[in-house]
């Protein structure tokens, strides 16, 4: 269970949520630690439990015993999620490999790769209204594999037959329309790379360093290439009436999720998406149709989208009044806080990793802004006393995560690593102190959303990395 002091000062609504996330992270870390028993890699930079299976294959008595004896080991062992377990030959050049296409035609990842999303412990959430965190610590580049994209669900994952799914556009329009999936795919399409970030990303970190890993602190962030029809194209088809200013988007999940969206946002870059990373959108991301609102808080990207109702005013739905609003210290709440401001985080080295010794390391991480492109990222190795420019991975795309890299020679002394993002508007990612001075800590479940302060990772003299406030 969570150490009591980590929950001090939170209200009764927030406490179980944060406790559930702490417990889930502890469970994931315990599983990783158990998998690393008797593995020479446990002091390494990228602890990977999958390597245990190398030892199994090599005939390690200890590991084989753990799996119930060498002969039965493969029958009993369970493949990591998304993988198929195969016997590992001592020398892959001396045995034929696996036959081709026996997987049925849809691939799987290596059985040695174990990165997975995790969900907060129950009872912080139910299995139907919950979220999963993306393993940013094991990410490369900027794309999130579709199966590792973070999730937030309000009543489970809808199962929808695309042949029976339609998008209705109605309300203040000249020509109401009903589109089948086939209809939508006939329109000129657009593909764009965009991040989606939950408004609640990093919500545990306002008061004190709470979660240990970057998956816990920043894992409600993911990036995909989204393909679909620009809303503007469909707006012209239905004909907007004078006075139209808002659009209600509604999902066809069991929460029948709704949000009111300003029309100008939809006309600027709203995308009615059916594709994700080169294939159909995953069920948990809204199959077969999802609204993409680049740079705006994740819950507005309505999944399983079934209708858009054009109106002259917002509907004041539950999610935009009682839930995704920011209660400030004076008792008044910010409403319609749509854009996710500029933010960044170092993913390597990050919490619970361990540097094997002094020497060269490539510090790397992700930077993003809901306002446009990342203009620059600066890295500090002395807790923000001095900053140096990091290299940005090209192409730098608007409203998309940007991978940054910074060469660092660690001298073995304790250090505090930070990154800060500057976007193309000139906005500079704030320090925690600056952000708290504005939002306050008085509203424990009020000002928790839209946290975008600089993250600090402390590297101790023994190379261990931990989450700190600096």
């Amino acid at each position: 269970m969570a150490e009591p002091d980590l929950l001090a000062g939170y209200d009764e609504e927030t406490r179980p949520i944060i406790a559930g996330m702490i417990a889930a992270e502890q469970r994931a870390l315990a599983a990783r630690k158990a998998a690393l028993e008797d593995c020479e890699c446990r002091e390494g930079m990228f602890p990977n439990p999958g390597r245990r299976r190398v030892l199994v294959a090599a005939g390690s008595a200890v590991a084989a015993a753990m799996l119930g004896g060498a002969g039965a080991a493969w029958a009993q062992a369970k493949a990591p999620a998304g993988a198929v377990l195969r016997e590992v030959p001592a020398d892959p050049t001396k045995e034929q490999g696996a036959p081709i296409a026996e997987d049925g035609g849809y691939g799987s990842r290596s059985q040695f790769e174990t990165a997975t999303r995790w969900r907060p412990n129950i009872p912080a959430t139910t299995p139907f209204s919950s979220w999963t965190m993306s393993p940013l610590d094991q990410s490369y580049g900027v794309v999130t594999p579709s199966g590792l994209h973070f999730e937030r669900h309000h009543n489970g994952i809808a199962t929808i037959d695309p042949a029976r799914h339609f998008l209705f556009i109605h309300g203040m329009v000249e020509r109401p329309k009903k589109y089948s999936m086939a209809d939508l795919k006939r329109f000129p399409s657009a593909s764009r790379m965009h991040f989606i970030e939950c408004a609640g990303n990093t919500l545990t970190e306002w008061k004190q360093p709470t979660l240990k890993t970057v998956q816990g602190t920043h894992g409600l962030l993911s990036t995909s290439e989204w393909t679909g029809v620009p809303f503007a194209t469909l707006a012209r088809e239905v004909g907007l009436q004078p006075g139209a200013a808002w659009v209600l988007a509604e999902g066809s999940d069991a929460a029948v999720m709704t949000r009111s969206i300003p029309l100008d946002k939809l006309l600027t870059d709203g995308l009615i998406a059916y594709g994700q990373n080169g294939e159909a959108i995953r069920p948990e991301q809204g199959y077969p149709l999802r609204l993409i609102l680049p740079g705006w808080q994740g819950n507005m990207h309505i999944k399983w989208l079934r209708r858009l109702e054009v109106s002259d005013k917002p509907y004041m739905t539950r999610e935009e009044t009682s839930k995704y609003t920011d209660l400030m210290g004076n008792g008044k709440a910010r409403q319609f806080t749509f854009v996710m401001d500029a933010k960044s985080v170092i993913t390597f080295p990050s919490g619970e990793m361990k540097l094997p010794g002094p020497g060269f390391y490539e510090v790397t991480g992700l930077a993003w802004s809901g306002h446009g492109r990342v203009a620059r990222v600066e890295v500090s190795t002395d807790a923000g006393k001095s900053w140096s420019l990091a290299a940005l991975q090209e192409p730098v795309q608007p409203i998309c995560t940007t991978r940054f890299r910074f060469p660092w020679f660690w001298d073995g002394q304790p250090a505090v690593l930070q990154s800060r993002c500057v976007d193309e508007t000139g906005y500079i990612q704030p320090t925690l102190k600056e952000l708290v001075a504005i939002r306050g800590l008085a509203g424990p479940f009020g000002s928790i959303y839209h946290f975008n302060a600089i993250q600090s990772w402390a590297v101790a003299a023994d190379g261990s990395v931990s989450n700190v406030h600096a």
Binding site: E13, N155, R186, A255, T258, E309, R318, T337, A437
Partner: protein
């Protein structure tokens, strides 16, 4: 002779045609693609979203007494017999009443009573997504009733009041003026 220039011109013509031809093929309207169909009124009538002015509220009505029965049957397992909220596996429901006067404190309690600005949102959400394990299963009269019950227990309306399409939009919620539009950019960050 097949020239590069000739190929280029053919390609440009094809590119231009790709924008114009589909629309023309649909029936002569060059400005619209014309895909999709016109939904029937029946198809659209199953949708609802209730704004603060109550537009789209269905016929029917509900009382505190009826709502108490509906609540006990369909809501109390997750929200508690006294609307106090529950936090246990499979039965996780928000606290619905209480918390007035706490929003500016160090321990704000956000409930329908203390935080929700519009009563219409309560009707919309209960009809839309509740009960959690059987969404959309309540009749409109049952939804009106459970709204009357919650608002009555919250001392926002008298327990004798009937709630219907006419009376619901007139309910004044305690935190009606508790919200303001996002003030960002935060000027403090530009000093």
């Amino acid at each position: 002779m097949c020239t590069l220039k000739g190929l280029l011109l053919a390609g440009l013509a094809a590119a231009a045609a790709s924008f114009a031809l589909p629309a023309l093929a649909e029936g002569g309207d060059p400005d619209h693609y014309g895909f999709g169909t016109t939904p029937s009124p029946e198809e659209l009538s199953r949708f609802f979203a209730i704004p603060p002015d109550g537009a789209g509220l269905p016929p029917g009505k509900g009382s505190h007494g009826e709502g108490e029965k509906v609540f006990a049957e369909s809501c109390a397992a997750c929200h508690g017999e006294k609307l106090e909220g529950i936090a246990k596996p499979q039965y996780l429901g928000d606290k619905l009443i209480g918390g007035r006067g706490t929003l500016a404190s160090a321990a704000p309690v956000k409930t329908v009573e203390s935080y929700w600005p519009y009563a219409t949102t309560l009707f919309d959400y209960v009809k839309r997504a509740m009960p959690f394990n059987a969404p959309g299963s309540l009749t409109d009269d049952q939804v009106y009733s459970v709204v009357a019950y919650i608002l009555g227990e919250a001392n926002i309306i008298p327990k004798t009041e009937t709630i219907d399409a006419h009376s619901l939009p007139q309910v004044r919620m305690p935190n009606r003026d508790g919200f303001f539009r996002d003030p960002r950019p935060e000027l403090e960050l530009y000093r």
